[in-house]
């Protein structure tokens, strides 16, 4: 498990618990975790639905945190966002916002008394106090704007921060000059409230930016640092990952991940490839068969003959593909940036124009400068800076309440260009866990015996049997229960030997085609076959998408038969089976080249490159860590219908953003002529600026007032708990 070192052997882990929703949950989770030996402290955060745990190794054993949470009926995942290091930039922005708020409000207070007609002496005193109060806002809170503007200018570019910085600094200097010369107007409150409002926009915007963690970082954690190499003379040497070469013989202990691709030398191995392929069935591998890097050895230790150096393994290849896809994605320019690119030059030229006209007309440098500054202040994109992030934050909150987490604000914009939805099969359209089929064909007695045996194992198939066989009757108690890796379970009841597992192991005769049998002294008692469950809501989702004229595509790495079953059940005509991760990416690139906007919904590591290559992507919380990091949206619970909710909300939000842009532009159209003709007083500037910002914020909040059903969230909470 990922954890960060706090010193003194104390480690800190963060787990995400989607179903935590009330005070009782907090109490239960904290109590359950604190009761685990080795846990020093557990603190739940209800807003983020996370719990932070400080723990120590208890006699060299890490506490079973996930187990403790599962035991009280909650589901825990590793969080998607980076846990190490708090967000320093956001903390700095909030501090700057606090200072700017304090300064601007106090300056505004003094200004109001000046505007309501203070005498000359009081006015000058108040202007002087305002100048002092404005200092921290101008030089501390506003510093971020100047830095960003300077960076743009020194690279020969211009951005929104250039007119903002010029505006703030010019306003402040001019007001300082006016205070000294005892002029009637000073614009300190304009300069400071400008910083305040713009910082609100910045804070919201930053909260919606993608956290720095990339899917690649999560992927590299799957590979161990090295491996034990079996030398020709039988010695075991620990060799660093970089020094492992093809044809070396590696000994993989039980519970270890495979460091590089290879071939099993002898015996049999039971491997968990869930994180790589999303397939939850354990893979049983015989001598001579291939094993992929990143797979987890669940059974006995085995010897692997490496076929590739780790740098050429499947996981390394996947890393390169994700990196390539991430490069492609970064070309997307966000709506606010595009608006700023248009806006900044216009504001510059208007201010310069006002200065030149007034300088020629009046011949007075001070008048011309005052009016140019007024134009800069009035056109300052306060409302524009709030227009997009305010809606996005409201939208993110709205979706979070419905069980969808957005990792990147720009994903909302990209989602609007979608006309094709691509699904992965295993773990996405299906639940990924096997389910016992044809339970009617099994006698109750056999099922009871099988259940009793299956309960002792964590193998996915055993779990499926145990789940199907839950009954009120007390199951028989087996003695000498043993699990043979890759084969099955055995136990004694009275004098009889019962075996549950592969037919060639459990039976004396060798004519069985099914995967699993229950046998008594080598005689078959019952046969079990397994299928996949289609996720709840998958059928509705596909139907809704089709009704809205989306193209629906199924790209799977699974066999053609398995894909056909699911595609036919859901009515998906465009289906492709047996795809490698590269082929999934290529299929998406082809769709994009044909002019489609592609949304990818997938979960496995094999989907990660495709998730990054698509225009937007979603993953269920049950997805692999890498899959979740690669996706723009992560949805909780089992129900796929939330995807429709996301589309609806995003559409509504886009409407609000458009309205906000119109409102901001309208305000500029009205106020610009007033500024240009020199009639702007500090009072008018303050009124115009705050009213337009308030209107934009109020408009954005309408999204949160949309009728709340809360139904989906409640449903997913219930599902997560059962």
């Amino acid at each position: 498990m990922t954890s960060k070192d706090l010193g003194n052997g104390l480690r800190q882990s963060v787990l995400s618990i989607p179903a935590m929703h009330c005070g009782a949950c907090i109490g239960a989770i904290e109590a359950a975790l604190t009761a685990v030996p080795g846990v020093e402290r557990a603190r739940a955060n209800l807003s983020l639905r996370r719990v932070t745990i400080d723990w120590k190794r208890d006699r060299q054993v890490a506490p079973d945190l996930l187990g403790a949470i599962t035991a009280i009926g909650y589901e825990a995942n590793l969080p998607t966002a980076e846990i190490d290091g708090e967000d320093e930039i956001l903390a700095g922005l909030v501090r700057a916002l606090a200072v700017a708020g304090f300064c601007s409000m106090n300056v505004m207070l003094l200004s109001v008394s000046v505007w309501s007609g203070a005498d000359a002496a009081t006015r000058q005193t108040f202007h002087a106090i305002s100048a002092l109060l404005a200092l921290p806002a101008i030089f501390y809170a506003g510093a971020g704007f100047y830095r960003s503007a300077w960076q743009a200018l020194s690279h020969g570019r211009t951005n929104m921060d250039v007119p903002i910085s010029i505006g703030i600094l010019l306003t402040f200097t001019l007001s300082l000059y006016d205070t000294v010369t005892n002029a009637p107007h000073a614009y300190f409150e304009a300069a400071t409230s400008l910083i305040f409002v713009l910082l609100i926009g910045r804070v919201l915007d930053h909260a919606m930016r993608r956290k720095a963690r990339s899917a690649v970082a999560a992927l590299t954690r799957l590979i161990p640092r090295g491996a034990n190499v079996l030398q020709n003379d039988g010695r075991l040497d620990f060799v660093e990952l970089g020094d492992i070469k093809a044809r070396m013989r590696l000994r993989i202990a039980s519970g270890e991940r495979v460091p590089t691709d290879g071939v099993l030398e002898n015996g049999r191995a039971e491997l968990d490839a869930a994180l790589i392929t999303g397939e939850s069935l354990w893979r049983s591998v015989r001598a001579g068969e291939a094993v992929q890097a990143g797979e987890l050895n669940l059974g006995n230790p085995f010897v692997l003959r490496a076929t590739n150096a780790p740098a050429d393994s499947t996981v390394a290849e996947m890393t390169r593909m994700i990196e390539a896809a991430e490069d492609g994605r970064s070309r997307y320019r966000r709506l606010a940036d595009r608006a700023a690119g248009l806006y900044a030059p216009v504001v510059h030229s208007l201010a310069v124009l006002a200065f030149i006209i007034w300088f020629i007309a009046s011949g007075n440098l001070h008048t011309a400068l005052t009016i140019a500054v007024a134009v800069l202040i009035i056109t300052c994109p306060c409302a524009l800076g709030l227009a997009v992030p305010m809606v996005q934050v409201t939208l993110a909150r709205h979706l979070f309440e419905r069980g969808v987490m957005a990792t990147d604000g720009s994903a909302f914009e990209r989602l609007r260009e979608i006309d094709t939805v691509v699904f992965d099969k295993t773990g996405t359209l299906t639940t990924g866990a096997p389910r016992l089929l044809g339970i009617d064909g099994i006698t109750p007695e056999a099922l009871k015996l099988a259940t009793a045996l299956a309960r002792t194992s964590i193998h996915p198939m055993a779990r499926a049997i145990a789940e199907a066989g839950v009954s009120a009757e007390k199951p028989p108690t087996f003695t000498d229960v043993r699990e043979t890796a890759g084969m099955g379970l055995e136990g004694r009841l009275g004098g009889d030997l019962y075996r549950l597992g592969r037919p060639e192991w459990a039976l004396t005769t060798q004519d069985e085609a099914v995967m699993t049998v229950l046998s008594k002294n080598g005689e078959a008692l019952a046969r079990f076959s397994f299928g996949e469950d289609i996720r709840p809501g998958a059928r509705d989702l596909v139907a809704t998408l089709k009704a809205r004229h989306f193209e629906v595509v199924l790209l799977s790495g699974d066999s053609l038969e398995a894909v056909e079953v699911v595609a036919n059940a859901l009515g998906i005509t465009d289906r492709r089976a047996r795809l490698l991760p590269t082929e999934k990416v290529r299929a998406i690139k082809n769709l994009q080249a044909a002019g489609h906007g592609v949304l990818m919904i997938g979960d496995g590591i094999n989907d990660a490159p495709a998730l990054r290559a698509a225009d937007a992507s979603m993953a269920p919380t049950s997805a692999s860590d890498v899959g979740r990091s690669a996706a723009d949206f992560v949805f909780l619970g089992n129900d796929l219908r939330v995807v429709t909710d996301v589309f609806d909300s995003v559409e509504k939000a886009a409407g609000l953003i458009r309205q906000n842009f119109v409102l901001a532009a309208l305000y500029n159209l009205i106020s610009l002529p007033i500024a240009f003709s020199g009639y702007v007083t500090p009072l008018i500037a303050a009124l115009a600026m705050s009213s337009s910002s308030l209107i934009v914020v109020a408009n954005a909040l309408r999204l949160a007032r949309a009728p709340r059903s809360g139904e989906n969230m409640a449903k997913s909470v219930l599902e997560a708990r059962t």
């Binding site: 009330c22 005070g23 009782a24 907090i26 109490g27 904290e30 109590a31 402290r41 603190r43 739940a44 955060n45 209800l46 807003s47 983020l48 903390a91 909030v94 501090r95 606090a98 200072v99 304090f102 409000m105 106090n106 207070l109 003094l110 009081t122 108040f126 106090i129 109060l133």
Partner: protein
């Protein structure tokens, strides 16, 4: 005029006190879990110790 010369500095000092209080509350992470704070009041257990320990650890790490 004399009233103003007392009241204006007074209000600014109070404002600064408010600002410092806000910065302190940020620093001690009192805004990290607003929903949780509302729910925790219903819990019976003595949670104050945990918060104090956390705060001390955090403050000493920042030298504050």
């Amino acid at each position: 005029m004399t009233a103003i010369s007392v009241l204006v500095p007074l209000s600014i000092v109070m404002g600064i006190a408010g600002l410092l209080a806000f910065l302190w509350s940020l620093r001690t992470r009192q805004y990290e879990d607003l929903d949780g704070a509302a729910a925790r009041i219903l819990l019976d257990s003595d949670e104050d110790d945990a918060i104090d320990r956390d705060r001390r650890r955090h403050m000493s790490r920042n030298g504050g």
